[in-house]
Symmetry: C2
Subunit: 514 residues, 2 copies
């Protein structure tokens, strides 16, 4: 055993009167600091492009605009790289924020202050709601809740799901989570960990999935969405992906579906969903249904939940789908709520045994509980003011205005892309994104190669430097090799930025003609 | 390749008009549901006693009290199992909650409502503070912030640390996190993952550490705190633990220190801290300093931060400690804030290279950002109303009252334990817990063995069933084999529960005499 030097010698009273320290007499060999070599390789391998090099460069430029105004060819950064509506001036829903402010300061609800709240346009239903929710949280949003989430709020979620689907839902199957990303972390950690396990993920995908798989050292098993048929799925392809994985010794355990699609903006047909459940039933795959954009559908294509489709299949074809397990995710970050920073979300577990749910509960308990105000926001999202309640009309107006603005902006941007040389784009059906396909000339491809980046990354970087518009290259979401895309939100208000994008594109295209 | 059945046959229009589903013609072999056998073994192995079987039983009893009042020998559950002050009627600090309510509903700050805020006793400094903090958050707490946390709030943390320690601190080294548990997850995932890596953890410990190590499949390397010398550390023991680990092929990478101690309630001497840094310097260990109870010290023993000690060592003994890496954790859940449900926290990274910090930033970016209101609460915690500001006096009164109440309760409970047969307890110095040592008769030990539980677990279970007091057995925190303890908070108001505990104990002791 290596001897450790005695501490009991030569006291030194220092400038810091309370610190009595002793001199180490040996010159023990100095340990080195940790470097990248000492870091868990899985963490090093994880990639998350939505906040990757281009958004980081955008942060630098933003800082430069503060420190040296006028030093760049644009006056602000348009963060179209991430679905963050309130960063781009979307206003939060009034009812939500009134209730949350009362939860943070219940003193506002004391009897003396009724007049006061009226002046600030708090309706009695907001106060009643805050009282109910505060009581359900045990009297304070500053106390830890149950790790699974406040029971009363989970009841609200179960009612919402039952209404949405016309099928029963149980509060015991609901876990409130930190956004939807918290739920993804739990489920993949549980069922898809280590190189012998894999999860089928759509390509293109939201990079949370590949990043979380990388952290778990598990295998992403990509299945391609078909751009030409509105980003649809192909049952034959699932079979091929699974067979190839099994040949390589990887067991597929989960199948991720993002619907409405991120980054594609497409809504899956019920036929596609049925095909997914068939493969899930056959191969015992836990279906992870990322349905966080379920409120973000446009009128022409309606969203149907995976659970509803599953229940119908289970009823009409008894025996085939009985054992399917589904985890459906939702979030307060998207939809008309857009409350990203509040970190609310939930998952519904369908078809899980009590013992497995208990393991998930234990996992949740290690991080104690999701933020209670985020949980409260989930309750507000799934149970907004109802017809006949005082706040209903105003709330509806606000919702419709947000919905309408998003629809208009998506169409504007879609039409702009249609007008650009070398760009094609599927018509948006839902979510907050467009994912246009970019053709590049040989000259552009060579230029990118010379710079050591992919052509779409080169394009996005040039776009940022010229216009301040921050997007994410398709490579961040993966794509069919040899194809190029980018993801942009259509959240930014106004049309100036679209005009400047058009101008940039024309110039870029002209400069890179073969 | 396995063939997948064609979907294109026998359409069925169902009761659900929009769901057009097709009958699967094959009877493909049904996949089985996931069971415990399919779950990541690391997750199965993780234990978290603070919310383990005894607290779960307490939840059942709580439910029973609601459904059948009077059916139990007590009228309420005393949740002494977890440091959750606001669950036990501790009031949040007024200033914090006023600012948070304004952040949630900035409309309250419009000029028309000045009178209104005055009526509700909002002082102008609360409004000014909320305006500053809202602007720093980019105008809404509903927007994602930087993944590292709002820059302005990190500046506040750096100032707080600099004032506390008299040593500079840099906002770039601060990461705002989801409570302190979020920070622990990041650091252990980064540096201590896989069975070839281990972390030195104090025994007894807060079970977050063993649980997180289990999730990372890494080795806990226990070092024992010496109860008889106020739970002090022993430098020789560190050497032994490290040598034994290395012999077994495990590389120690981190060293966890909890100060003030959880569950011990003890404060480490500076001599002990110096010894810890010596071993860290010698063996390249990242020191994880869990300092979340730094505000919870009692008058007689003062808290000194690990960073302050490190900086003094670095100055007075140049060369020896230069390469030490320290992660210091703090949280809004404890102290006089007690805002557990708001999930605020931070970590300061000392001695880390830019490239390693960038990897941590990438990891943080995968979960997007910590809840922004929790971040705001960190800012409030580190920068409360200052002398001369309008809210200062009232805020100070509230703080002193909480501090005083905790001190009184800890003393009451400590004296109660001193009076009990077979119980000994170190004098509380800090944190929110007492960790008394229990002696058991052979009869009690045999009884526990017959029930298949450890003696301290048996005691805690009996205590719960007889009095409604929910505690955690020492085994949940680990302890020297053959010794028995329990952890209880001293947060519950009143003395009735202490009296009923005393009565229970006397009866238990009488019933189990040899």
């Amino acid at each position: 055993m290596l001897g450790f030097r005695s501490l009991s010698s030569s006291r030194l009273v220092l400038a810091h009167p309370r610190l009595v320290l002793r001199r180490l007499r040996s010159t023990a060999p100095l340990g080195a600091r940790k470097t990248l070599q000492d870091i868990n390789e899985c963490v090093l391998n994880a990639k998350y492009a939505v906040r990757g090099p281009i958004p980081l460069r955008a942060e630098e430029l933003k800082q430069q605009l503060v420190e040296e105004p006028g030093s760049l060819p644009f006056s602000k950064i348009i963060n179209a790289n991430i679905g963050n509506p309130q960063q781009l001036d979307q206003k939060p829903l009034t009812f939500y924020r009134q209730v949350l402010s009362l939860l943070q300061n219940p003193a506002l609800m004391s009897e003396n202050h009724e007049q006061l709240l009226t002046t600030a346009k708090y309706q009695p239903d907001a106060v009643a709601r805050a009282k109910r929710m505060l009581q359900q949280a045990g009297g304070s949003v500053g106390a830890y809740s149950q790790s699974q989430g406040v029971a009363g709020y989970r009841e609200s979620v179960a009612k919402f799901i039952a209404n949405r689907d016309g099928e029963p839902a149980d509060a015991n199957d609901i876990f409130l989570t930190t956004g939807a990303s918290g739920a993804v972390a739990y489920i993949l950690q549980l069922f898809c960990s280590g190189p012998q396990n894999g999860a089928l993920i759509p390509i293109p995908q939201y990079p949370l999935y590949t990043a979380t798989l990388a952290l778990n050292n598990a295998e992403p098993l990509p299945y391609y969405l078909d751009e030409n048929s509105g980003w649809s799925t192909d049952p034959e392809q699932f079979e091929k992906v699974i067979a190839t994985a099994v040949e390589k010794g990887v067991k597929p355990t989960c199948l991720v579906v993002i619907n409405p699609g991120n980054p594609t903006g497409a809504i899956l047909s019920e036929e596609n969903i049925e095909g997914i459940f068939q493969v899930a039933a056959k191969y015992s795959l836990v279906v992870i249904a990322d349905e966080v954009y379920q409120e973000n559908g446009f009128d022409d294509v309606e969203f149907t939940s995976m659970k509803k489709v599953l229940r119908v299949l289970q009823k009409t074809q008894p025996g085939i789908y009985d054992n399917v397990q589904l985890v459906s995710l939702h979030s307060t970050s998207k939809g008309v709520s857009g409350e990203c920073g509040q970190r609310g979300g939930y998952m519904e577990l369908v078809g899980f045994s009590t013992e497995v749910k208990q393991v998930i509960l234990k996992l949740a308990s290690i991080s104690l509980c999701p933020v209670v105000t985020g949980q409260a926001l989930v309750d507000l999202m799934v149970c907004p003011p109802q017809k006949g309640e005082v706040s209903y009309e105003k709330d509806q107006q606000e919702r419709k205005a947000i919905h309408q603005a998003l629809k208009e902006r998506s169409n504007l941007l879609y039409r702009a892309f249609q007008s650009l040389e070398g760009v094609s784009c599927q018509k948006p059906q839902g979510s907050m994104y467009l994912f246009p396909k970019l053709e590049f000339t040989k000259r552009a491809i060579d230029k990118a190669e010379a710079l050591g980046v992919a052509p779409d990354e080169y394009y996005c970087k040039e776009l940022l430097e010229a216009t301040g518009i921050c997007t994410v290259p398709g490579s961040g979401f993966r794509q069919i090799p040899g194809t190029y895309h980018l993801r942009t939100t259509f959240l930014a208000p106004g049309t100036d930025w679209i005009e400047s994008w058009k101008k940039f594109h024309e110039k870029f295209w002209d400069q890179h003609r073969d």
